[in-house]
């Protein structure tokens, strides 16, 4: 079965490969960073949590002080690439398209292959295990097509991982910070503050406050799922539903979308905004956010109007 544990081991192998190539290249701090990351994926479940925490701090310090340095990987010359294109033609698209298509196929069809206490995919993480299976067959197809050795696949994934660099750590670190915020009671404090200071008698004001509050808190937390319960409990239910008698289903549906507008605006939503900037090799890490900002702000305004018109 394609379990999460199996996928973690695959991730560990990929990170160890990056570490190996960095070490070969005498970039020792990078090698340490990727080795620690691989170790957490390989042995995380068997280590005391405090040790994992210490490794995370170590990685963050190496990354934060510029210790994760990108590598120089030899790629084929443009001329060789064009010859390859001539030879392979449209077949080059096959492995690339196999990833999304096989993922969807697996998640829809193969998910149902199961017996007593056994299943091909992990039902709790259907998309990820389907993606793992799809990526495996796509690698086989790509190796067959390009006649490359498996080591080259490791080298190529290392090249792209190093192009992303420290940004790779960021989504997980931010999710960790979100969980820590929860433990410390950040959400409760915010909702206490809003109920203490906001006395909104006009429904439009209340709607605007809920929508903007949702977007702002998402900007801070980087995750609309984290903002939704806090702002809905703090502003939405007491003001919009109980005081003004609005429809809770409409409030929830559009309220969550206001949170998504916030997601488009924040570096805290690293996997959508900062990581793609690194993956696309953009010099400005905030370029994706800047491209999204006009859409997000106009849509937030439209959401306020929609909520006001539809809810009451």
């Amino acid at each position: 079965m394609i379990s999460m544990t199996l996928l973690y081991y695959v991730a560990a192998i990929l990170f160890f490969a990056v570490s190996f190539f960095s070490f070969q290249d005498k970039r020792y701090s990078s090698a340490l960073f990727w080795f620690s990351y691989g170790l957490i994926f390989l042995l995380g479940d068997f280590m005391p949590p405090a040790l994992v925490g210490a490794l995370v701090v170590l990685m963050a310090l190496v990354a934060g002080f510029g210790g994760v340095i990108g590598g120089n990987y030899q790629t084929l010359e443009l001329q060789q690439r064009l010859e390859s294109v001539k030879r392979l033609g449209n077949r080059l698209f096959i492995p690339a398209l196999m990833i999304p298509l096989l993922t969807v196929f697996s998640a829809l069809v193969l998910l149902h292959i199961q017996g007593d206490g056994w299943s091909l995919l992990d039902p709790k993480n259907a998309t990820l295990s389907a993606l793992g299976l799809a990526a495996f067959f796509a690698v086989l197809a790509a190796l067959y097509l390009t006649k490359e050795k498996p080591q080259q696949a490791l080298k190529e994934s290392s090249r792209l991982i190093e192009a992303i660099g420290w940004a790779f750590l960021l989504p997980q670190l931010l999710a960790t910070l979100g969980l820590l915020f929860n433990q410390a009671g950040v959400g409760e404090t915010v909702s206490k503050l809003t109920t203490l200071y906001l006395n909104l008698n006009h429904p439009l004001l209340a709607v605007a406050c809920y929508a903007i509050g949702m977007a702002l808190f998402t900007v801070i937390m980087g995750n609309a799922f984290a903002a939704f319960p806090v702002i809905t409990a703090g502003i939405g239910i007491p003001l919009l539903v109980l005081q003004h008698g609005g429809d809770p289903a409409i409030m929830a549906a559009i309220g969550m979308f206001c949170g998504y507008c916030g997601t488009l605006l924040t570096p805290m939503a690293a996997n959508f905004n900062i990581v793609p900037a690194a993956l696309l090799e953009l010099p400005d890490k905030n370029a994706v956010i800047k491209a999204q900002a006009p859409t997000a702000l106009v849509l937030l305004g439209v959401n306020i109007i929609l909520m006001y018109l539809l809810m009451f």
């Binding site: 991730a11 994926f41 005391p48 949590p49 405090a50 994992v52 925490g53 995370v56 701090v57 310090l61 990354a63 690439r81 390859s84 294109v85 698209f93 690339a96 990833i99 999304p100 993922t103 993480n125 990820l128 389907a130 490359e148 080259q152 696949a153 190529e156 994934s157 750590l169 960021l170 989504p171 670190l173 931010l174 999710a175 960790t176 969980l179 820590l180 915020f181 433990q183 410390a184 950040v186 404090t189 915010v190 801070i220 799922f225 939704f228 809770p248 289903a249 409409i250 929830a252 559009i254 979308f257 998504y260 570096p267 993956l279 953009l282 999204q292 859409t295 439209v302 959401n303 929609l306």
Partner: protein, 241 residues
């Protein structure tokens, strides 16, 4: 007035200050996590423990980015980007804006049908979408300065995000709908999940119209940018790489 502690908010202040002062985000987040722990008087060992536990719990996050990279890397080595570019150059009507508009429509509608994995930055945007959008521009203007190239790439990533976000939320089985339904129930309010999904449709349409309009105007915007760029550096040859 305030009879409760404001200390838990210290971490938020650190994050905002750090991003404004443009420190390395990894460092900012770590310091914020440390400040939050200290503000609520967590002993350092239990702080490390909750850090480690949370980090292990979120190990699934990098996978979606990580797993497709080997395939994409191999194909890039053998000219996938160049192939995508020459393919789009055969379509005479293709422009960056129009191509992204078609992608937005496909991404949003497939996400709404629950097919959220038919896209994404490593699988679609880097190897296929952004090279095609870049090639469409170059074909029309015979040049592609870095500044324009970066704008096209950023808009490609933005279009993937917007299509995904505002499509997936009108699919009933998606986690956000379940989350909203469960949360409202816990607060004593009964709703129908289908109802929540349906009321997402007006915003989904608005998102398509707003971003679609921007994409239609994107070509003219890029053309103006190119003109400025050429005016500033008339002697410089446009770079190809």
């Amino acid at each position: 007035m305030i009879d409760f502690s404001l200390w838990p908010l210290l971490g938020i202040a650190v994050v905002m200050l750090g991003f404004i002062l443009k420190f390395n985000p990894v460092l900012v987040v770590t310091v914020a996590a440390f400040a939050t722990g200290m503000a609520v008087k967590m002993p350092i060992i239990s702080w490390l423990e909750s850090l480690g536990t949370a980090f292990l719990k979120t190990r699934n996050l990098p996978l979606i980015l990580l797993l497709p990279l080997a395939v994409i890397g191999l194909l890039e080595r053998h000219g996938l980007r160049e192939k995508a570019q020459s393919w789009i150059q055969n379509i005479k009507a293709a422009t960056s804006g129009r191509l992204l508009l078609v992608y937005l429509a496909l991404r949003e509608s497939t996400a709404a049908a629950g097919l959220t994995s038919l896209g994404g930055h490593p699988q679609m945007v880097r190897p296929l979408l952004s090279p095609m959008a870049e090639a469409a521009f170059e074909q029309k203007h015979q040049s592609l300065p870095d500044k324009i190239k970066y704008k096209i790439r950023a808009m490609s990533a933005a279009t993937d995000n917007i299509g995904l976000f505002f499509g997936e939320d009108i699919f009933v089985a998606f986690g956000a709908i379940i989350l909203m339904h469960t949360f409202l129930r816990e607060s004593g309010i009964e709703t129908d999940p289908l109802h929540i999904a349906l009321w997402g449709i007006p915003t989904a349409i608005a998102a398509f119209l707003i971003h679609g309009t921007r994409l239609i105007r994107f070509d003219a915007y890029l053309a103006r940018q190119l003109k400025d760029e050429l005016k500033q550096a008339p002697s410089q040859e446009p770079r190809h790489d």
